[in-house]
């Protein structure tokens, strides 16, 4: 893949997030909500980077250039169109769990937090699309 500055910056952000989650012991986390949240943003940066390197333009707004995904709905549509069904499921799951981790006060009290490690594994797959 040819490189471009936006792609490089987004990839750096994704790797930065990856290092941060790794330091939080994602399989036995003290802060599972933050493991989930950062894992999602890691995936989001990867998807943005993928869109940037492929110079993808949102068809509704072709005048916008260079392309940058600015809404979650756009990112989800992009993943659905370009990265396939399994990635769509994984990305959606990360997005939903991140939202719940951030905004649902009952989230920490429930066993769902034990899934933080699995969610990090899902997020790591998005790093692979940048290789």
């Amino acid at each position: 893949m040819a490189s471009n500055p936006l792609y490089d910056a987004l990839k750096q952000q994704a790797l930065h997030d990856y290092n941060l989650v790794s330091s939080l012991s994602p399989t036995k986390p003290t802060f599972p909500d933050w493991v989930i949240t950062i894992s999602f943003y890691m995936a989001l940066h990867c998807v943005n980077a993928h869109a940037a390197i492929n110079k993808w333009k949102w068809e509704k707004y072709p005048q916008k250039s260079p392309f940058k995904i600015s809404r979650h709905a756009q990112a989800l549509r992009y993943v659905s169109m370009k990265l396939g069904n399994q990635s769509f499921r994984d990305y959606n799951r990360l997005y939903q769990e991140c939202w719940n981790a951030r905004y649902d006060p009952f989230f920490l009290q429930n066993s769902h937090c034990s899934k933080a490690g699995k969610l990090f594994e899902l997020a790591k797959k998005f790093i692979e699309i940048l290789q």
């Binding site: 809404r71 979650h72 709905a73 756009q74 989800l76 549509r77 659905s80 069904n85 769509f88 499921r89 959606n92 799951r93 939903q96 939202w99 719940n100 649902d104 009952f106 429930n110 769902h112 899934k115």
Partner: protein, 152 residues
């Protein structure tokens, strides 16, 4: 039970591939009215604008009706879904889908349907939120303005 290929609502028909289908007779009447108006030397431009807006509104209503109808049908099939609310503003439609607990297998069914929905309705920015009730009521979690689409 198979999903219907075509949906009829009070304003006409709509096929499930996202295409507007105005019934032939209805369309012919509209076309006739339109021709009368545009042949009128006075104020035809104004009427032409109104007519274009009207057609846009009809098309939008059809799309939204179909989107909600198909969604209700699909969500009903997923046993674990307890309630569904939706929010709509212009072309943004958000579904809040309530589960009793966190079951990834059931959620996958929602994601698969969601993916199909995105390709069927490209004009809409469709969002979903999956929420766990954990003994709470949906009304305790909803922001203002949600409309119930489905409740079991």
């Amino acid at each position: 039970m198979k999903a219907p290929r075509e949906i009829t609502c009070p304003m006409g028909k709509f096929d499930l591939c996202g295409q507007l289908v105005i019934e032939k007779e209805r369309y012919a009447r509209l076309e006739e009215e339109f021709q009368k108006i545009v042949r009128n030397p006075q104020g035809e431009e104004r009427f032409r604008e109104y007519f274009t807006v009207l057609l846009g509104m009809i098309e939008h209503s059809f799309h939204l009706y179909a989107l909600l109808d198909i969604s209700r049908y699909e969500f009903e099939k997923i046993e674990e879904v307890r309630k569904v609310y939706f929010f709509q503003r212009r072309n943004n439609v958000d579904f809040w889908i309530f589960f009793e607990t966190d079951e990834w297998e059931a959620e996958d069914k929602v994601y698969d349907f969601y993916e199909r929905m995105l390709s069927m309705f490209p004009k809409y920015d469709i969002g979903i939120k999956l929420l766990r009730l954990w003994g709470r009521k949906p009304e305790d979690l909803l922001p203002y303005g949600g409309v119930k689409l489905l409740g079991k």
